[in-house]
C-alpha cells in the first residue's frame, strides 16, 4: 500500500498563535477571575458587604479588570466553539464559521471597550 506524504510544512508566520494565545489567556481569565466576580456580584453586593456599587465600574482599574474579564473569555469561546463545530462535522464551512467566531469576539471586545469608556 502506497502512502503519498501529505505533510504540509507551511511557514510558521500564520495567525494561529495569536488566536491560540488569546484563547489560552481567556481560559486563564475565566478560571481565575470569574469566581472572584461571582463572589463580588453574587455575594458581596446582594449581602450588602459592598454598598458603594458605583465604585465597581467607575474606577479606571475596575474598568481594565472588566475589559479583561469580558474580552479574553470571548476569544476562549470563539476558538473552542470553532474547533468543536469543526470536530462535530456539522458541515459548516470553515471560513464563515471562523469569521463568525473570531469576528464575534473582536466585535465583543470593541463593544466592551466602548461601553466601559462611556460609563
Amino acid at each position: 500500500m502506497q502512502h503519498a506524504s501529505r505533510l504540509n510544512v507551511t511557514p510558521t508566520k500564520n495567525i494561529e498563535p495569536l488566536w491560540w494565545g488569546l484563547f489560552s489567556a481567556g481560559g486563564v481569565v475565566a478560571a481565575f477571575l470569574v469566581p472572584i466576580h461571582i463572589g463580588i456580584f453574587g455575594f458581596a453586593v446582594p449581602l450588602g458587604w459592598i454598598t458603594d456599587t458605583g465604585l465597581l465600574y467607575r474606577h479606571w482599574l475596575v474598568k481594565i479588570y472588566l475589559f479583561v474579564l469580558i474580552s479574553l473569555p470571548l476569544y476562549h469561546w470563539a476558538h473552542r466553539f470553532y474547533f468543536a463545530v469543526n470536530d462535530m462535522r456539522l458541515g459548516v464551512p470553515r471560513k464563515p464559521l471562523a469569521i463568525f467566531c473570531y469576528g464575534g469576539a473582536v466585535v465583543g471586545t470593541v463593544a466592551a471597550a466602548l461601553v466601559l469608556l462611556m460609563v
Binding site: L7, N8, V9, T12, N14, P17, W20, F83, A84
Partner: protein, 248 residues
C-alpha cells in the same frame, strides 16, 4: 472440572479475499497469567495459523503489539486477560490507520511524520572529540527525559480523535519527540523543527483532548509536549510582532 475458557472476538481481514473486515471468535483456555498477546499466540499456534498480527519483545519495549482491546488502544503484551472480567474480549487493529491484514496496520503515515520532526540531535557545529562529551546537568536531563520513553507504538494516534478527523495532523508521538529534542541542551535544531511542529498540521490542530497521555503505556505525556510547544510558539509570535527587537 472443565478447564476455564475465554473467547476472543478478533478482527479478520484478508486482502483479495474479504471485501471488508469481519470478525472471528476463538475460544481458548483461560490462564490467569496470560496477556492478550499470549492468547493470540495460542490461537496462531493451536487453532488458526492464518491469523496475522505484529509482535516482538513481549515486554512493553518494542511497541509493535499495539491493538484495540475492547475498544481501547493497548499493548497486548501488557493487557492481562484477568483484567477483562467478561467472557469475551474484542481485539481489533489500531483505529485511525489503514489495515493491511487482520490486526496489522499500515504505519507508513506515522513513519513519515516521525521523520519530519527530525528526532535526532542536530548540531550547528560538532565539537572535536578531544573536547570530550557534551555534559548535562540533572536538571537539563530532567527537561526532556520523560519524552525519551516513547516506543513509537502509535497507541496515542489510535486514541487521538483529532488524528481520526484530520489525518494530516502530525500527531502526539511525533510532536512529543520533536519537543524531546528541542528541550535537549545538546540540540541546536529547534529552528529546523519549527515549521513542521508549529505549521499548519502541527500543534494548532490539537484541541487538547488528552487521550494520548491517557493511553500511553510508557507514561509519556504527549499532551503536555503539545501544549508547551503551543505556549512557546505563541510567545515567539507575540515577541516577533509586538517587540521591535524580537526575532522576525
Amino acid at each position: 472440572m472443565a478447564e476455564p475458557t475465554i473467547t476472543l472476538n478478533v478482527t479478520r481481514y484478508r486482502p483479495g479475499q474479504d471485501q471488508a473486515p469481519t470478525s472471528q471468535r476463538y475460544t481458548i483456555p483461560y490462564k490467569n497469567d496470560w496477556v492478550v498477546l499470549d492468547a493470540l499466540n495460542y490461537i496462531k499456534d493451536q487453532l488458526d495459523g492464518t491469523l496475522s498480527y505484529r509482535w516482538s519483545c513481549r515486554m512493553g519495549v518494542c511497541g509493535s503489539c499495539g491493538m484495540m482491546v475492547n475498544g481501547v488502544p493497548k499493548l497486548t503484551c501488557a493487557a492481562f486477560l484477568r483484567d477483562y472480567q467478561q467472557q469475551e474480549i474484542r481485539v481489533e487493529p489500531l483505529t485511525n490507520f489503514p489495515v493491511i491484514r487482520d490486526l496489522v496496520i499500515d504505519m507508513s503515515d506515522f513513519m513519515d511524520k516521525l521523520k519530519s520532526v527530525k528526532p535526532w540531535i542536530i548540531r550547528k557545529t560538532e565539537k572535536p572529540l578531544s573536547e570530550g562529551e557534551y555534559l548535562q546537568s540533572p536538571a537539563e536531563l530532567e527537561a526532556y527525559q520523560q519524552f525519551t520513553q516513547c516506543i513509537n507504538c502509535m497507541l496515542c494516534y489510535a486514541a487521538c480523535p483529532v488524528y481520526g478527523l484530520e489525518p494530516d495532523f502530525i500527531g502526539p508521538a511525533a510532536i512529543a519527540l520533536g519537543y524531546r529534542y528541542n528541550m535537549d541542551s545538546r540540540d541546536e535544531g529547534k529552528d529546523l523543527r519549527k515549521d513542521i511542529l508549529t505549521g499548519h498540521d502541527g500543534v494548532w490542530q490539537c484541541t487538547f483532548v488528552g487521550e494520548c497521555t491517557e493511553v500511553c503505556p510508557k507514561h509519556v505525556d504527549p499532551a503536555a509536549a503539545i501544549q508547551r510547544t503551543k505556549v512557546d510558539a505563541a510567545k515567539d509570535w507575540f515577541t516577533s510582532y509586538l517587540l521591535p527587537w524580537g526575532q522576525k
